[in-house]
């Protein structure tokens, strides 16, 4: 009985701290606005074309109709409704970017734990390799890899995820370095626990906060990169309603001096989504880093 009481007290302390953090998040304006924006796009990603005013793939005879008429955001060169295509376009990005982020976070966490925990030559050589990879812009690596491996959503997810791993591992490694000399880690080692146990059961739960922040930041970058790659033609293929693709298909019309609605609205969709994710990341950072 006496042994259980402190354990219960400790647990309730943890849950109080958690509730407090949650309350701080709800009070954070940046976080709430971010959640509302991202929630809107997640909603459209889930319902897809079933709720859009028109079928996003339906071609009509009213080609390049101006916005604010019968078609709220106008139509494109094939007479397809821009509003429906923009709303349905959330699906592709919101499938690829989160999966790539999860892959990058998982791999990066393992690499970061190992390099931070063992240090020495493993750490040194992996750090050098990471430096070399980071000397190349993400989009250069992605373009090269996708051309080599072929264009598919799977490749897109794997390539972005793998490139994220070293970047995530840096953050995780720094967090592990701050923890590895603390008493609870020493105690676990003295108990004779194996290295994987110490890394994943002892250290990992204590560095969740920086990993969560890193994950939201990465998600923003993933959307950024997916949009760029589909714009370059390495993502979803026509006639899929995808924002990057819509811009790629229609931006040549801009040179003529009109027909701006076919590119501006998908562009604004990308902009609001990444800004929303970044607002969430910023809100989380402010609350969790305290």
């Amino acid at each position: 009985m006496t042994a259980i009481a402190p354990a219960i007290a400790q647990r309730s302390e943890v849950s109080v701290a958690r509730r407090e953090r949650l309350r701080a998040l709800v009070r954070s304006k940046t976080f709430v606005v971010g959640v509302l924006i991202v929630g809107w796009w997640v909603f459209w990603a889930v319902v897809g074309s079933s709720l859009t005013p028109h079928d996003p793939l339906d071609q009509t005879s009213s080609v390049l109709a101006r916005p604010f008429g019968h078609y709220w955001l106008g139509t494109d060169t094939l007479g397809r409704d821009v509003l429906s295509r923009v709303l349905a376009g959330a699906t592709g990005v919101l499938k690829v970017a989160p999966l790539a982020t999860v892959l990058g976070i998982a791999g990066g966490t393992v690499i970061g734990l190992v390099t931070g925990y063992f240090r020495g030559i493993v750490d040194d050589s992996i750090s050098r390799l990471i430096d070399a990879v980071l000397a190349l812009p993400l989009i250069v690596i992605a373009v090269t890899a996708i051309v080599a491996l072929g264009t598919s959503l799977g490749t897109l997810i794997v390539v972005i995820g793998v490139v994220f791993m070293p970047i995530v591992s840096r953050t995780v490694r720094a967090a592990v370095l701050a923890e590895r000399d603390l008493d609870y880690v020493q105690a676990a080692k003295l108990r004779g626990e194996h290295a994987p146990y110490v890394m994943f059961v002892e250290i990992l739960p204590n560095i969740v906060a920086p990993i969560v922040v890193e994950a939201t930041v990465r998600l923003g970058y993933a959307i950024f990169t997916v949009a760029g790659l589909t714009f370059l033609g390495f993502g979803l293929q026509p006639p899929a309603p995808d924002w990057g693709l819509q811009i790629a298909e229609n931006y040549a019309l801009l040179a003529g001096g009109s027909y701006w609605w076919t590119v501006l609205f998908p562009g604004l969709a990308i902009a609001t989504l990444v800004i929303g994710v970044n607002l969430i990341a910023d809100g989380l950072q402010q609350v969790l880093d305290r």
């Binding site: 070399a132 000397a135 190349l136 250069v140 051309v147 949009a227 714009f231 701006w260 990444v274």
Partner: protein, 317 residues
């Protein structure tokens, strides 16, 4: 200082070697036989073999790598598989074009973002600070081509102030060239603005709280002198480092922006090389991008250590 330099150069060379291996490996991943890809399905096996031999694509992978590096060290970048002319002849002008664009972007961006960051720091917590911080954060998050589209719609289509293509007619004056490059450079700048302003803001806030600033105020120096001689000098140090690391992001942005504006720079070269499986061009392009980034970070580190004696002495211990 000598030892610091030596160590820094050594690390840069190790990174460079690794980078060359990555660039080479990436090109190796391209599917299919090189000669067969270029010459097509109807070429005889003999001519395919001859082509591969001429382009150094024979034997085990490590000896191919060795030959490639050997040629590189002699200044021979190889022959473009797509155009069948030396890569250097294509990369050179492309680099010059990209350099012009990047330079204009930096000239536009650095003063504005540093001033923005310092103003935000001086008005910390007030509406001005929130506006600068949030708009910087948002601009950084939005992909360059999206910013570019918005800029084109506003300044090119609606207001008709600026041309919507990037390349000035051949033989135009510097002024006209700048006018054509303004839209793509602005699009690149928006992404950098947030980063640099954020660093300048953080650095200034830290310097404002520092003991030496309090001492300077207490000994009766004017607000201006404190700001100029004590706060800004210390605040802008980390900003310099950030500016250099952004060179990498800038090059990444160049691919998309150059494609959007159809501007013949290094980004467009890498993009077309990747699309056409022109692997000599691709590996050279990737390597050059990496080298530009390495040199930029090296310069940043040196500048940083020149301005900050603590790093110099710390490394020499």
């Amino acid at each position: 200082m000598g030892r610091f330099l030596l160590k820094r150069f050594g690390l840069a060379i190790v990174t460079l070697v690794l980078l060359s291996i990555i660039a080479f490996a990436a090109a190796q991943l391209l599917p299919g036989n090189v000669g067969r890809n270029v010459l097509g399905g109807f070429a005889t096996q003999q001519s395919v073999d001859l082509f591969n031999h001429q382009h150094g694509v024979y034997g085990p992978v490590y000896s191919q790598y060795g030959r490639w590096i050997g040629h590189l060290l002699h200044g021979n970048l190889g022959t473009s598989l797509e155009y069948n002319v030396p890569v250097s002849g294509l990369i050179g002008p492309a680099l010059r074009n990209s350099f012009k664009l990047a330079l204009l972007a930096f000239i536009l961006c650095i003063p504005v973002s540093i001033v923005g960051g310092v103003i935000a720091a001086l008005r910390q917590g007030r509406p001005t600070d929130r506006i600068i911080t949030v708009s910087g954060l948002s601009l950084t998050a939005v992909p360059e081509f999206v910013t570019a589209i918005v800029l084109i719609v506003v300044f090119g289509v609606a207001l008709k102030w600026l041309p919507v293509t990037a390349q000035a007619p051949p033989g135009s004056s510097v002024f006209v060239q700048v006018k054509y490059l303004l839209l793509p450079a602005l699009a690149l700048t928006m992404v950098l603005f947030g980063y640099i302003a954020r660093m300048a803001r953080a650095g200034t806030i830290e310097a404002l709280d520092a003991d030496y600033t309090r001492t300077a105020v207490l000994k009766g120096l004017s607000k201006r002198t404190v700001l100029r001689k004590h706060v800004l000098r210390n605040a802008l140090l980390p900003t310099i480092a950030v500016v250099a690391t952004q060179v990498g992001y800038l090059i990444g942005g160049l691919i998309v922006i150059e494609k959007l504006f159809n501007y013949p720079g290094i980004g467009l070269r890498i993009y077309t090389a990747a699309q056409n499986k022109d692997f000599t061009m691709l590996e050279t392009g990737v390597l050059i991008v990496g080298i530009v980034y390495l040199v930029a970070t090296l310069i940043a580190d040196l500048l940083y250590s020149l301005l900050n004696p603590r790093i110099r002495y710390g490394a020499a211990e």
